[in-house]
């Protein structure tokens, strides 16, 4: 710690005080760490355990230890690979859209002399809502054929009524848009906050040097904003990989498996098809994917 408490007195007294401090710390940490061990580490070990079993709630008589069988099945499972692909498409497109739109809007709003307050308030609305409620609103009032506003606008724009959630491609586009709608304000707020904290005098100097707006953006703003952008990318990637409620309420993963991200596949396998063992293997695969992707992102963060 950079700001550790005052140096303890030397000698026996110091040792006694340090020991007391350790005991006090242990007592304060114990309840939270017992709870965390019980609700995260223990289930993880349990999950790895169940992933080596055949465990079928619909056919319990066939249950038993199968070793790595579930993982062998997984590697040969087309639905697993397609759900992984859907996950990657969903994550990449929502994260890119959120950051691009959020950054663009933050830059525009930053230049506004009045009305910034409006954006700060309105941006809070989507991010505090439950993704389940957001999904429900979009599924019905926005996207329902002939009833939803989006479809109404599409009809009036001459595109005709579309089956927004029933067509595989449109359904994917819809769930990406819904996620982007809800979480762009997050990127916007974070990037606006870090834009506001950038030193003004650098821009002054750049203006005196007659640097164009684009040059100022590329040479000054973007490099200074990089840590914040990378942080937003990392956080949003982690969330998008385990997105659940908004897709579950809107399409349930369908039509077919068109919007079934890996997270949703693990859920459906475990709780709809009741194959807990195989579902556990899918959840472990999701954890591995999450760790791999975050490893890459953290490496990018360290690289200059």
């Amino acid at each position: 710690m950079p700001h550790a408490a005052a140096t303890p007195p030397a000698g026996d007294l110091g040792r006694v005080l340090a020991q007391r401090e350790r005991r006090f710390a242990a007592a304060l940490l114990a309840p939270a760490f017992v709870a965390l061990l019980a609700t995260t580490t223990f289930p993880l070990l349990f999950l790895i355990g169940t992933s080596t079993f055949r465990m079928d709630l619909a056919m319990p008589f066939a249950d038993g230890f199968v070793g790595l069988e579930n993982y062998r099945t997984l590697l040969a499972d087309d639905r697993f690979w397609s759900s992984l692909l859907v996950s990657l498409i969903y994550t990449a497109s929502t994260v890119v859209l959120q950051v691009a739109l959020g950054l663009a809007l933050a830059l525009l709003v930053m230049d506004m002399k009045r009305g910034q307050g409006w954006f700060r308030v309105v941006a809070i609305l989507p991010v505090v809502l439950s993704p389940a409620v957001v999904g429900m609103i979009w599924r019905t009032f926005m996207l329902a054929p002939e009833f939803g506003i989006v479809d109404y606008l599409a009809i009036n724009a001459g595109l005709g009524s579309q089956n927004w959630l029933g067509d595989p491609t449109l359904a994917m586009v819809s769930v990406v848009i819904i996620h982007t709608w809800q979480w762009t304000p997050f990127a916007f707020m974070v990037l606006l906050a870090s834009l506001a904290s950038l030193p003004e005098d650098i821009y002054e100097a750049a203006r005196l040097d007659r640097a164009s707006a684009w040059q100022r953006f590329k040479r000054i703003t973007l490099p200074l904003l990089r840590p914040a952008i990378v942080m937003v990318v990392i956080m949003r990637t982690m969330v998008a990989l385990t997105a659940f409620a908004a897709i579950f309420t809107v399409t349930g993963g369908g039509p077919g498996t068109a919007t079934e991200i890996l997270n949703l596949y693990a859920y459906r396998k475990s709780f709809t098809e009741l194959s807990i063992g195989y579902g556990s293997a899918l959840a472990v695969a999701l954890l591995v994917v999450t760790i791999l992707i975050s490893g890459v992102l953290f490496a990018m963060r360290r690289a200059k």
């Binding site: 408490a5 006090f24 710390a25 965390l36 223990f42 809502l129 385990t242």
Partner: protein, 279 residues
């Protein structure tokens, strides 16, 4: 001059479009929740109509009342918040202020627990809670909610504890106050604001959770986010009522979000700053 004006108008149009896009789905739900059944189905959609509170009366006091579900949501969220805070405040204090071996690892562990995908937690917990008969109970849901509320609350609180000057504690120790007394009398009052913000976010996250709730809820314990599904079925969607339920589910979190407005960025990015930035 003209180019500048065109630019200004374009910027204004784009930003207003964003504002509208964010407000509209929420506003439209509110409007639909105030319509009669014929108004809600009108084509083209009606922006102006004579409002009614009928849908709210129906969903709150009608035959399929969601009042018990709102109660469920509040019990789960308040219960989660109380238990989380009781555990997180002492833990965060220790992580922020005390010296002990393994401190760095302890902090990292708290962060790392958030990597585990929720679906990987719910599968084992479903099996365990089923065995001990805790499906469809408050204790079952609240217990598993600690998996995400605790790491969040600990890290958010650590950032507030770190802001207090060390002189305060030292002065108290010199006066002969015990560690526990110092924590209660001197430190906690200093971070009252941070504790309030943390309470808001823990409540908000618990209120909004869905995956655990959908697996663990039943006829006794069913939060409003899950109960909402009663209003959409293959045969018919009860539009106005669904809108009313959505608004009721949104109301508490929107109020809390606006109350916590100044701290929202901090609340949303908690932990991320720690990952390697500040220390």
């Amino acid at each position: 001059m003209i180019a500048k004006r065109i630019r200004l108008v374009a910027v204004l149009a784009i930003t207003l479009l964003f504002l509208l896009a964010w407000v509209f789905p929420i506003l439209w739900s509110v409007l639909n929740s105030l319509k009669t059944d014929s108004d809600v189905l009108a084509y083209p959609p009606k922006l102006f109509f004579s409002p009614t509170l009928e849908p709210y009366r129906d969903v709150l006091f009608g035959s399929a009342s969601i009042l018990p579900n709102l109660v469920s949501s509040f019990v789960i969220s308040i219960g989660t918040t109380i238990i989380t805070m009781l555990m997180a405040v002492p833990a965060a204090y220790a992580l922020a202020r005390l010296r002990f071996r393994g401190k760095k690892f302890a902090g990292f562990y708290v962060l790392a627990t958030q990597m585990l995908p929720p679906v990987g937690i719910i599968i084992p917990y479903f099996l365990i809670l089923r065995n001990i008969g805790w499906i469809d109970t408050y204790q079952g849901i609240i217990l598993i909610y600690l998996s995400f509320s605790l790491p969040f609350a600990i890290w958010l609180l650590v950032s507030y504890f770190e802001d207090i000057p060390f002189e305060m504690e030292e002065a108290a120790y010199l006066d002969g106050a015990s560690r526990m007394k110092t924590l209660w009398r001197i430190i906690i009052p200093q971070v009252r604001g941070g504790i309030a913000v943390t309470i808001v976010f823990v409540f908000l996250n618990a209120w909004n959770e869905f995956l655990f709730a959908v697996v663990l809820s039943g006829n006794t314990v069913r939060p409003v986010t899950v109960a909402m599904f009663n209003f959409v079925s293959v045969e018919q969607t009860l539009w106005a009522k669904l809108a009313a339920v959505s608004v009721l589910a949104m109301l508490p979190v929107v109020i809390l979000g606006i109350v916590a407005q100044k701290n929202i960025v901090k609340g949303l990015t908690v932990g991320a700053v720690k990952g390697g930035g500040r220390r």
